[in-house]
């Protein structure tokens, strides 16, 4: 019953969960505090410690986790109990699922067994990510509705309109890339970016800017955090949440950040590829480790490069979050419908014309 495929899939799922839920979710909480502090000429959290060891504030994440686990799980009076409990689950599950189709490495042959470093190689991978991210709206909307709180309801309303609008724009920004790579499968798109000049960012940097802004809006982070706007709506849709339910919303946000970074890496930054180094060249350079050793080393390097690019994009998201002030709600909608949507349509037409005219050679 236990086949190599089963072990491989289990290992990949465990790796993805360890990377997103185990590593990035708590560490991003620390990065958010520390990076913002250093950017604003402050020091940041550094007090939580064990026997005087504070590990530059990293233990604050642990302290937070302990605090939140032991907090009272509170449901307000008049709230829809079942939906109030369901909402955080509906927020966190799409965030966890969406990473499944993002390749975090290439294909390698280990001891005669072919390993494809992606949890699910769907031929509609790109659509799958969009479908799943559109589902994450429900967690927010239902949380806002079920809390029996005016602020929450307003946050939920804002979130549903904002996320819906930016989904449309986000879907259109990547159409040009689909035309360029002629595939909806993220594995295939990454495989076609082996040559540095075929990376998405080289030709499609406007699409990258548009996609990145849409993705941040979809994740409801500053400058698009109108649904939770703490100066207007207390905490928006999760005002009435505490304890582990709050953690789920909080973790969903960070995991979605990782997913956004992963999407950007896969679509625009060449996935696990190193610039100007082909897979064959890499295998040749690692030839000293023997056939299997070279494959293992190439796999480790590929995953390392992917994680490095991931961290780079996460740092960029953090920098954006601590640089820009929040947009007003009507400005968000105006930006989405009147700027990003027409711009992405224009980019699609331009790309189509360039491909037909032969100016933009397809990989």
């Amino acid at each position: 019953m236990i086949s190599p495929e089963l072990i491989e899939t289990a290992a990949k799922i465990i790796f993805v969960f360890a990377l997103t839920l185990g590593f990035f979710a708590p560490v991003l909480g620390w990065v958010e505090r520390k990076q913002s502090a250093v950017m604003q000429d402050r020091i940041g959290a550094n007090r939580a410690g064990v026997f005087g060891f504070t590990v530059i504030g990293l233990l604050h994440s642990l302290a937070d986790a302990i605090k939140l686990v032991f907090k009272e799980d509170f449901t307000p009076r008049g709230a829809e109990k079942a939906l109030h409990t369901l909402a955080p689950v509906m927020a966190v599950i799409p965030a966890l699922i969406a990473f499944a189709v993002i390749p975090f490495g290439g294909q390698y042959t280990l001891w005669g067994h072919r390993v494809n470093l992606v949890v699910a190689d769907l031929d509609v991978g790109l659509l799958f990510v969009f479908a799943i991210s559109s589902i994450s709206t429900y967690g927010v909307v239902i949380a806002g509705w079920a809390s029996n709180n005016n602020w929450s309801l307003l946050g939920g309303l804002r979130a549903s309109a904002q996320m819906f609008s930016y989904e449309v724009a986000m879907g259109l920004t990547v159409i040009a890339l689909v035309m360029y790579y002629q595939s909806l499968s993220l594995v295939e798109i990454v495989a076609k970016q082996e040559n540095f000049w075929h990376w998405g960012i080289v030709w499609h940097w406007p699409a990258f800017l548009l996609f990145f802004s849409c993705a941040i809006a979809e994740n409801k982070r500053v400058p698009f955090d109108a649904p939770e706007a703490e100066s207007e709506l207390v905490a928006g849709y999760f005002t009435e949440y505490s304890g582990m339910k709050f953690v789920m919303f909080w973790a969903a946000e960070f995991i979605e950040m990782v997913t956004i970074a992963g999407m950007c890496v896969a679509l625009f930054l060449g996935g696990h590829h190193i610039p100007f180094v082909t897979q064959a060249g890499l295998a040749e350079a690692l030839g000293a480790f023997g056939p299997n050793g070279a494959q293992v080393a190439a796999m480790l390097i590929g995953v390392g490069v992917f994680v490095f690019k991931l961290i780079l994009l996460l740092a960029l998201q953090m920098a954006v979050r601590w640089t820009l002030p929040r947009f007003r709600y009507d400005q968000i909608m105006k930006l989405g419908w009147k700027m990003i949507l027409p711009l992405s349509l224009a980019w699609i037409s331009l790309t189509g014309a360039a491909i037909l005219a032969g100016v933009m050679p397809r990989p």
């Binding site: 829809e80 939906l83 031929d123 659509l127 479908a131 559109s134 709206t137 909307v141 549903s160 819906f164």
Partner: protein
């Protein structure tokens, strides 16, 4: 395995659609409908129609139902009241029976015309390229008519809002 999964998702779809009709609160109904959409998407995926499955979630569950929720939340609908609500179960059962009775001859006619479908999917079935090719060659006219209809609806919606604003 696949048969088991089919019955699982089909069962979920049926139970959730019944719950949708029976639910007293509009938001609960909407959540149940989202669940039905998911189960349908899973059924499409079992039929190797991955593109349709993804689009089912993206368009129906992700976009249309979100707008439904938006409207329901804005309208602040209450629980149903009055004579119809008291005899709700009877009315619903009658409706389901009527629809079922209408569907059975329709389905029989459809199978009679084309014959039973083969269980083995042809090569490239359900891939994006195959669906796209079919849409732009064999079914171009229905596709264009549908898009013209959608465009008309869009223009109509904008026009209605503009009239109200003036």
């Amino acid at each position: 395995m696949e048969t088991m999964l089919f019955y699982l998702f089909a069962g979920v779809a049926v139970i959730l659609s019944l719950a949708m009709i029976a639910a007293k609160k509009p938001v609960t109904s909407a959540v149940c409908l989202v669940g039905v959409m998911f189960a349908l998407a899973a059924l499409f995926a079992l039929l190797h129609a991955h593109l349709i499955a993804a689009l089912q979630i993206l368009v129906y569950a992700g976009a249309i139902m979100v707008l439904f929720m938006f409207v329901i939340m804005l309208l602040n609908l209450r629980e149903k009241e009055g004579l119809a609500a008291r005899h709700q179960i009877v009315a619903q059962a009658a409706g389901v029976a009527l629809l079922g009775a209408l569907l059975i001859p329709f389905m029989t006619l459809a199978t009679l015309e084309k014959g039973p479908l083969s269980a083995i999917a042809p090569e490239r079935f359900g891939t994006t390229a195959a669906v796209g090719e079919l849409l732009y060659t064999e079914y171009l006219l229905p596709f264009e008519i549908a898009s013209a209809l959608l465009l008309a609806a869009l223009v109509g919606a904008v026009a209605l809002v503009k009239i109200r604003m003036r």
